[in-house]
């Protein structure tokens, strides 16, 4: 993509967001759509979050226990480090990268299909701000539900480690739990939640932008869906870097 193309896209995205972030035409309809999106984008993602977090949590603990074998390190280090990894990066950043695949492609393909089947034009003809009606409930729902998914992910990730300790005894459960509680900073949870909400906004708005601007047919919807996942991933990683430097640096 050329620089002018990139700037054009950024401009289009800004214009779209101006249309999206307006008061809804009908609050009643907005809340109806908002609740539907909470279910579609958030609730249906819980199982994916639970399964991935459980296994990754278990593997993190297993890897640390097997590889952090330096004699000067206390045995509870495994608990401390796995907690920090899960809390600071895995449950917010990595989980959002995974969710950008599921939720981002869902949003882009749904809106893209509505575009090519003239459903968006039909909304406009009725006199509705189509961008606001379609995109705002998705953004709000995903941003609001993101902390729930992050908390689920943190809890289940740590639980995965607990389960592996129970079965292998390396480290012993009590040491692992002691590690989880040692040097705990509550701020990390708020940091993780705030970060995930920013990522939630990026995923939903960027995917909606790609879907809303589809021109053509089914192939273009597929391309928009793929592009949205790629751009979301890059933006999440870049934002993570900047946000971490700003807040922790």
């Amino acid at each position: 993509m050329s620089l002018s193309g990139l700037l054009e896209s950024v401009g289009e995205y800004a214009v779209l967001m101006k249309q999206v972030l307006m008061p809804p035409d009908r609050l009643r309809e907005f809340f109806k759509e908002f609740l539907k999106e909470i279910h579609k984008l958030g609730v249906t993602s819980i199982w994916l979050v639970v399964i991935i977090s459980l296994f990754i949590g278990a593997v993190i603990v297993m890897q640390l226990a097997l590889n952090l074998t330096y004699p000067f390190l206390p045995s509870y280090t495994v608990g401390v480090v796995s907690r920090e990894i899960i809390l600071l990066e895995f449950s917010s950043t990595i989980m959002c990268l995974i969710l950008s695949g599921k939720v981002g492609s869902n949003i882009a393909s749904e809106i893209g299909t509505m575009r090519i089947t003239e459903q968006i034009d039909a909304l406009e003809i009725i006199g509705i701000n189509s961008a606001n009606y379609l995109i705002l409930p998705k953004i709000m729902a995903f941003v609001v539900f993101m902390p729930v998914l992050v908390v689920f992910s943190i809890f289940v990730g740590l639980l995965g480690g607990y389960i592996i300790c129970t079965f292998t005894g390396n480290p012993p459960v009590a040491t692992y739990v002691y590690g989880l509680r040692a040097f705990f900073r509550e701020f990390f949870i708020w940091y993780s939640i705030a970060k995930s909400m920013i990522f939630g906004f990026i995923i939903s708005s960027v995917s909606a932008y790609f879907g809303y601007n589809v021109h053509g047919g089914a192939l273009d919807v597929g391309k928009a869906s793929t592009d949205s996942v790629v751009i979301n991933s890059v933006l999440i990683l870049m934002t993570d870097l900047v946000f971490t430097q700003l807040v922790m640096g």
Binding site: D121, A122, I125, I126, G127
Partner: protein, 273 residues
């Protein structure tokens, strides 16, 4: 009444509509005809503001759409109904919910009254029995009828239809034509129907605008369609099955008349061959 004056539309240097002027009066069936790629749909979408025209005027009762503010356009659109080529029903809503949707958004009626109005519209298009079904569960013809019901839900002043018969069998096409003509007459709506189906034109068309390669080549009442000297129009009209069939039928009548004459001559003069 809708007046279009000197409308042009350019896509990246490519002139798709060239200086088109036309008038669409209310209470009659106005049709835009032309072959595929002649700019009919672009013209219609410019008229409703879904595509921004490059230059010209689109006057709704004297008010120019192209100089209206966003809020004014929104208000004008509440007086419009549109039937899209692919119906454009909302997949996630049932037929009844689709028809109720414009009412939910903009009417001040109670839920019961909104439902009653939606059921009335569905009854008008004989689709009340499919009210609970989703668009994926009904046929193409039923989808068109549901889309008509949605288009008339807010009692529009203007009705726009983009190829209402595309993809339908002749019988269903006739049904849709009949419904549209009935609704336009009953409610005195200003209508613009884009089509390339000459059956429709001959069945319900009253005022015809013919487009060819982005240029308005002819405009006038249906009755004068056959009298036009315009070559492109003649080509388009006589390429259609309706006229082919008429011509074939005329040919067959001539042949029968000729045979009858020969038979008569032979009977009267049996020696002559």
């Amino acid at each position: 009444m809708i007046e279009v004056k000197n409308l042009s539309k350019e896509f990246e240097g490519n002139l798709v509509l060239n200086d088109i002027s036309a008038t669409f009066r209310n209470g009659i069936v106005n049709m835009i005809i032309g072959k595929s790629g002649s700019g009919k749909t672009v013209f219609l979408k410019c008229m409703v503001g879904l595509i921004r025209a490059t230059s010209g005027e689109i006057l709704y009762e004297g008010h120019n759409l192209l100089t209206m503010k966003r809020k004014e356009i929104k208000l004008l659109r509440r007086e419009m109904g549109m039937l899209f080529q692919g119906s454009a029903l909302f997949d996630s809503k049932t037929v009844l919910e689709n028809v109720m949707f414009p009412l939910d958004m903009f009417s001040r009626l109670s839920k019961k009254e909104r439902r009653k109005r939606a059921e009335f519209c569905l009854e008008r298009v004989n689709l009340l029995q499919a009210a609970h079904l989703y668009p994926s569960e009904i046929s193409g013809g039923m989808m068109k009828r549901a889309a008509i019901a949605r288009a008339i839900a807010l009692n529009p002043k203007y009705l726009f239809c983009d190829e209402p018969n595309s993809g339908l069998d002749p019988q269903t096409s006739q049904l849709i034509d009949g419904l549209l003509a009935g609704i336009i007459k009953d409610f005195g709506i200003t209508s613009v129907i884009v089509t390339h189906d000459m059956n429709s034109v001959m069945n319900i068309g009253e005022h015809i605008v013919f487009l060819n390669e982005g240029i308005k080549e002819w405009e006038g009442p249906k009755e004068k369609l056959n009298d036009s000297d315009n070559e492109a129009l003649k080509k388009f009209v006589f390429a259609s099955d309706v006229f082919k069939k008429n011509k074939e039928a005329e040919g067959q009548i001539e042949q029968v008349k000729e045979e009858e004459l020969i038979f008569k001559m032979r009977r009267e003069n049996p020696k002559k061959k």
